[in-house]
């Protein structure tokens, strides 16, 4: 029995290896380059002769990534909180009430999820520019919230529907009112779903590109993706070892978070997609 599982594992890994190699390739390049010395970067060897850990500290001082990190944290955290605060009641309404317009609202969410920021960026830019709010990070918070609501309500609703109603009904029978039931029965059960959804919302905001590229003009306001791109775009000489070190710092923490949580996404998405 053991033996056949071992054989199967080998065959499966053999099948998966080409795609795994291609997927890992850029990230391996990123890691290796971030550890090369300035002279060795232009020489495409696989293993650096000496590991230049100081790239990270030098990059930290010269690239302005610290302020970008702070901006990204500020925008992502605030917009995640705001998104969650407005999405929880909406998701609760969708999963616990039957009301006229329920389906219309769900379809509105679906349509708004289809529209990516890029299609609306011209109009958004005009509105923000007319209000004189270019370079204002709070504008980014509001826009990210608007675009994340659909995903968030959708995910929360699909999780909420899996929480059995019986528990709440039992509490009503015991004489608890709706609000009390909500607070002491429903919300504690819903906490894991809220945390998971919040983290995915955070990652979406953390990685957003086109709105930040358009709305932020001053370097000190850049978020991480814009800062890293600015180290590459429109320059005659690019310090690739610093760029790769910056990309490493910008992506690895989020990647670890994501790897840890991805199984919840499988569940939430598949429930949401069919139910």
């Amino acid at each position: 029995m053991m033996n056949s599982k071992l054989k199967r594992s080998l065959v499966f890994w053999l099948f998966l290896s080409p795609i795994v190699v291609v997927i890992l390739f850029p990230y391996v390049v990123m890691t290796i380059t971030s550890l090369k010395s300035a002279t060795e970067v232009l020489n495409p060897t696989w293993w650096p002769e000496e590991l230049h850990w100081q790239n990270f500290s030098e990059m930290w001082q010269t690239s302005g990534i610290a302020s970008a990190l702070a901006n990204s944290l500020y925008v992502s955290t605030l917009s995640t909180l705001l998104t969650i605060v407005v999405s929880i009641p909406a998701a609760y309404a969708l999963s616990r009430y039957q009301f006229a317009g329920r389906n219309a609202y769900r379809q509105f969410l679906l349509v708004s999820q289809m529209l990516s920021p890029i299609v609306l960026v011209i109009g958004l830019f005009r509105l923000v520019a007319n209000a004189g709010m270019i370079d204002n990070l709070n504008v980014l918070v509001i826009i990210y919230t608007g675009f994340n609501i659909a995903f968030c309500v959708w995910m929360l609703q699909s999780y909420f529907s899996t929480i059995p109603r019986d528990l709440e009904e039992a509490a009503w029978m015991e004489g608890a009112n709706r609000w009390r039931t909500l607070r002491s029965v429903f919300l504690p059960l819903a906490v894991p779903a809220m945390v998971v959804t919040a983290i995915f919302t955070f990652i979406n905001a953390w990685n957003e590109f086109v709105i930040a590229l358009t709305m932020l003009r001053k370097e000190e306001n850049y978020t991480l993706p814009i800062r890293v791109l600015s180290l590459v775009a429109g320059r005659y000489t690019v310090d690739w070892h610093y760029v790769m070190a910056a990309a490493f710092v910008a992506s690895v923490p989020v990647a670890i978070l994501f790897a840890w949580l991805q199984r919840y996404l499988v569940r939430g998405l598949s429930i949401g997609a069919v139910k």
């Binding site: 599982k5 594992s9 499966f12 890994w13 099948f15 998966l16 795609i19 291609v22 997927i23 890992l24 850029p26 990230y27 390049v29 290796i32 380059t33 232009l42 495409p44 009641p89 909406a90 309404a93 969708l94 009430y97 969410l109 679906l110 349509v111 708004s112 529209l115 990516s116 890029i118 299609v119 609306l120 960026v121 011209i122 958004l124 005009r126 509105l127 520019a129 007319n130 509001i142 919230t145 675009f147 609501i149 309500v153 990685n207 590109f209 791109l229 775009a233 690739w240 760029v243 790769m244 992506s251 989020v254 990647a255 994501f258 991805q262 199984r263 499988v266 598949s270 997609a273 069919v274």
Partner: protein, 289 residues
């Protein structure tokens, strides 16, 4: 009475916010596309469909439209073809499955911008590691300037597009596969059905709704995808790798042709609406079954 109004109060804040962020800019875009606009966004006289007429006479726009079609079809079909076997394997029980899942999901966890920046470096003509890897394997004799020409840059962008779309698609398929009851396979096996027959007669039909949904959602995401092309080539050289989204951005924010950029936005909006209707119909059909 209170029960009847409660759900509306609950959905109101989210509705107002989402509607403001979507409908308000949409209104701006409509008015931009119908007026003469200077490059600072000042509206001048009403010009009707003039911007649309200019666009359809613009060879770069027509080329970008065709390229968007090629881009979307290649990335979406490529993704689906690669993702089905991966999902089937990841659904089996084998040593290292947890690690394999994480590795396949990795591109989803890292922002598209970072992935594209890293690829831009890996594809560098002189010092890029793709060239040195291919040379070490003996596949090419001399360095290729990947991003200097559309004929090599665009296929590479499609490849990157496929790689970053696989995780989401595999996730959808895994969700679908987990709903296939095991006893169905056992019954088929006792009837003498081989592995291929089991796949063809049980797995594929049960996976079909998930393939449909992954197809439509991927089409929408890929159609809208901006960072890969913008970061690697910015639509260049000589506008030869533009798709609609990057051309829209170039017109609006580089060349100051806001009216035409708004017109492209509306054209894309119309196309997306069609995709969305298809998706809603598919999703509703699932719900009924």
């Amino acid at each position: 009475m209170q029960r009847a109004t409660a759900p509306y109060f609950l959905i109101l804040p989210s509705f107002i916010l989402a509607a403001a962020i979507i409908l308000w800019p949409l209104k701006e875009i409509v008015s931009l596309s119908l007026h003469d606009v200077n490059r600072f966004g000042m509206l001048r006289e009403f010009v009707g469909l003039e911007h649309f007429r200019v666009l359809f006479a613009d060879p770069d726009f027509i080329a970008a439209t065709w390229r968007t079609l090629v881009w979307t079809v290649c990335v979406v079909l490529g993704t689906l073809i690669v993702s089905v076997p991966i999902a089937l394997i990841l659904n089996e029980d084998f040593y290292g499955r947890g690690i394999a899942r994480i590795l396949i999901m990795l591109p989803w966890a890292i922002s598209l911008t970072m992935t594209a920046v890293v690829w831009r470096w890996a594809l560098n003509g002189e010092s890029g590691m793709l060239n040195s890897a291919l040379r070490d394997l003996g596949l090419i004799g001399s360095n290729i300037q990947w991003l200097a020409e559309a004929s090599t840059a665009f296929p590479m962008q499609i490849l990157i597009g496929i790689l970053v779309s696989v995780p989401f698609t595999v996730t959808i398929f895994l969700g679908g596969l987990s709903s296939v009851p095991d006893d169905l396979y056992e019954a088929a096996a006792t009837e003498g059905a081989g592995r291929w027959d089991q796949f063809r007669l049980i797995t594929l039909p049960l996976l079909r709704p998930f393939i449909n949904i992954a197809f439509v959602l991927n089409t929408i995401y890929v159609f809208n995808s901006f960072p890969i092309i913008w970061v690697t080539t910015q639509g260049g050289p000589a506008n030869s790798t533009h798709i609609l989204v990057t051309y829209l951005y170039e017109l609006g924010f580089r060349l100051g042709r806001l009216g035409e950029a708004a017109a492209i936005s509306l054209i894309m909006f119309a196309i997306l609406l069609v995709f969305t209707l298809i998706y809603v119909r598919l999703a509703m059909r699932e719900e009924k079954e």
